[in-house]
Symmetry: C2
Subunit: 468 residues, 2 copies
């Protein structure tokens, strides 16, 4: 437990006024979370545009009320919310990044309770956005608001950048970032949009995978054909789509696109070793997601596959007759949405070229394909030994009663790599969620105990960073 | 032209009263077709049940009004309509088979005019069911009704069996057939539910492919997962579905299911030779369906692939996020509708077993599959040299001005093989449609010229059969 001792050594209590404000605020913290979760801010659904704006305004009003200096920056998409506390000369500056948009809730029939009518069951709040990211980003907003309300001076300046397009690629923030560089200048970006390693095992996340998303359209005859009169003589686009997608993955779970692994950074032995010590249990993991067993790239552990190896997933398939009953049709077209997770050194633009030549090589006769890249971003790594990572360990141990483990996360926060580049800052990924919180899935949830510990850890973090 | 001479030699004009009744009836024939086409009798859509019954009643009333002896036989599904003209001692008995149900019209957005609001454009009526089968079966009903109205005695007894479940497998007719054997006793079954070989090239169809339809369900995790946190570690059901379906077909267009070709009857050389003489043009054929080029089983011509070789087509694909925008999800499940066309000697039940062992062998780890067979039926062959085929040649030449070619058809009329077996009768397949009539597709149509020629040929057929 050397890490824990080292942490404790630099630990210190919060000012009593802040602590009591936090302790008395729990009900209010939960009520505000539930209020925010009721707003269906689905950024990918054009019919929800007003709701996304409403979610932004809700947050803006809350930060204004708390006395933060706020600004709503209009973009071609949804507004960028920027806020900050007063400067603290000599102390570092922390920037909290998060998002107020959420994933689509479909398939709706799999939700136990409606996605935008939050309910609390056995200590967990169920709603779209509960853990990704409203519940998690709110922990930092609550901690800062309570610091301010306590009358105690914050030991450092805290800025906020909360956007509304994280679930659709953060393009507008990406474009605006250089212009905002001065306004957002900071020493460390703090992000809570991921998970603990397991219940009761908080983590500092030192790496994220990148992402590249695509839609593939496959066309054959100009209209649907009778499968009797034409079947066997005319190429079937749905079969061609299956053949093209299947050709991208081999039986060992390796991606079968030529050149894809050329620029994949190997996993440092020190991390592979550390991750093995986490004692992952594949059977437990499989049952936690309801799968009969796990399956992935041969030669790697589950954590290595999730955190540090490239992956390819089909996100959606569409073709022909999907309604009730039989329709013996040879469909004119078929399409798929699919996406890759990328690891350090992989370049989404290069990947697109590799996919195009793969499709060119594998497309059957009589079939035309069109590949539409959506958004892409490289992977991101953070220094597990930075002063900020050490400060986070202190704060997390105070709030959770145990020091965090150092892990990576398989998801992507495309903008973080850009922060490092444009703002030249460190990154601190502190996930308060759990792997089974069902982000992007039906019945998304967030443990209220984790929510409150997250608020406590956040409040302690500001002090730990300042005194680190 | 020996065939043509031989036909002419046994040709004879229709009674003047019948001919003038036909000539004066064209407007009425078209008006009634359009009236019938307006009824959306989609047998596979439970919400259309009343419409299917309405289409049956429409026909029943028409046959009653014409003086046919009719009967509507209730089943667990839609009624079987049986009708007949008076017996003619010493003359053969013909049974006209057809169906009043239609395929679903989807995708609706590809229809130039609504599927159930028939419109005539450049001599063709556009509507779901125009060619399959309302327009075609109506040619026989019109010809018989006009014979009856003309006051001239029909030279043979004609029976009708019109069902409402042809597009969903004719299960109820199949069950009822033995019980109806006496009522339907006949020498030849006449069916018009297929196509001419080409415009101006009428045909007698001497064979149909069989059919076997399936739905495949693939399940992985119990709920949709975040493709970032789990991608690479948990098998993707949509990818598994693609791999399973792609594994059923090889690059040469051959079906890759072990044992499938074991019981496939080879194509008789005499037919292969005759078909080559038809002078099919692949480029013309490809452009007629809007495909850049044709693709099918190596070593066979297009007509051989369509008419006499087994085929596998995916009819529909469903998985994950199909809506607007990006959703980086690892879907919990995926499903496909797919169907085979079978050739003589293939048994649908045996095929189901072959598919199950194929799925068993190819299913990736962490994935569960469920195969749901829907309906199946063997292929059917008819004698191209029967007295009925010769009589049809005479009638067709009189109506179309050219003798028919002898072909097969790739589609299936599952019940015909059962007719041969239970009623011990010949089959006469006289398709008045065209390959580009878009049966089972958007913008289904039927040429009014072919419609009227079909009525004329049908009227002559009764005389030709009686005098054959």
């Amino acid at each position: 437990m050397s890490q824990s001792e080292q942490s404790s050594s630099s630990a210190s209590q919060l000012p009593a006024e802040v602590q009591s404000r936090l302790d008395d605020g729990k009900q209010r913290h939960e009520a505000e979370l539930i209020e925010w979760l009721k707003i269906p801010s689905i950024s990918s659904d054009s019919s929800r545009r007003d709701d996304v704006h409403q979610a932004a305004n809700w947050l803006l009003e809350k930060m204004n009320a708390a006395g933060l200096q706020t600004e709503s920056i209009s973009t071609n998409g949804f507004p960028l919310l920027v806020a900050s506390t007063p400067p603290v000369p000599g102390a570092p500056v922390a920037l909290v990044y998060g998002h107020y948009d959420v994933q689509p809730p479909e398939p709706l029939d799999l939700w136990t309770s409606p996605p935008f009518e939050p309910v609390v069951r056995d200590g967990k709040v169920f709603a779209r956005g509960a853990t990704d990211d409203k519940g998690q980003v709110l922990t930092h907003i609550h901690s800062v608001c309570d610091w301010l309300a306590s009358g105690q001076p914050l030991p450092l300046q805290i800025k906020f950048l909360i956007e509304g397009e994280e679930e659709v690629g953060s393009q507008n923030l990406d474009d605006w970032l250089p212009e905002l560089a001065e306004k957002l200048a900071c020493d460390v970006v703090v992000v809570s949009d991921s998970s603990q390693y397991a219940p009761g095992r908080p983590a500092v996340t030192c790496g994220l995978r990148g992402i590249a998303t695509y839609e593939l359209f496959v066309d054959g005859p100009s209209h649907d054909l009778h499968s009797g009169s034409f079947g066997g003589a005319v190429a079937n686009p749905a079969m061609a789509l299956c053949q093209l997608l299947a050709s991208m993955k081999d039986a060992d779970g390796k991606i079968a696109i030529d050149g894809l692994y050329d620029d994949v950074a190997p996993i440092p032995d020190i991390e592979r070793e550390a991750w093995k010590q986490l004692g992952a249990d594949d059977e437990e993991f499989a049952s936690s997601v309801g799968a009969s067993k796990l399956h992935g790239e041969a030669g790697y552990t589950t954590d290595e596959r999730r955190w540090a190896r490239p992956s390819l997933d089909i996100n959606g398939l569409t073709s022909g007759h999907q309604g009730e009953g039989v329709k013996t049709v040879l469909p004119a077209k078929a399409s798929a949405k699919f996406s890759f997770r990328l690891v350090p050194n992989q370049d989404p633009k290069r990947l697109t070229g590799l996919i195009e030549s793969h499709l060119e090589r594998h497309c059957p006769p009589g079939i035309r394909w069109t590949l539409k890249p959506d958004h892409g971003a490289g992977a991101m790594l953070a220094d597990a030994n930075s002063r900020y990572a050490k400060a986070a360990s202190v704060a997390i141990e105070q709030a959770f009663g145990t020091p965090p483990v150092m892990i990576r996360e398989g998801g992507s926060i495309p903008i973080l790599a850009r922060f490092q580049e444009v703002l030249d800052c460190d990154c601190l990924l502190l996930g308060w969620g759990q792997n089974d919180d069902a982000a992007h899935s039906p019945n998304e949830k967030f443990s209220l105990e984790d929510f409150h510990r997250g608020i406590q850890a956040s409040a302690s973090l500001w002090q730990a960073i300042a005194s680190a």
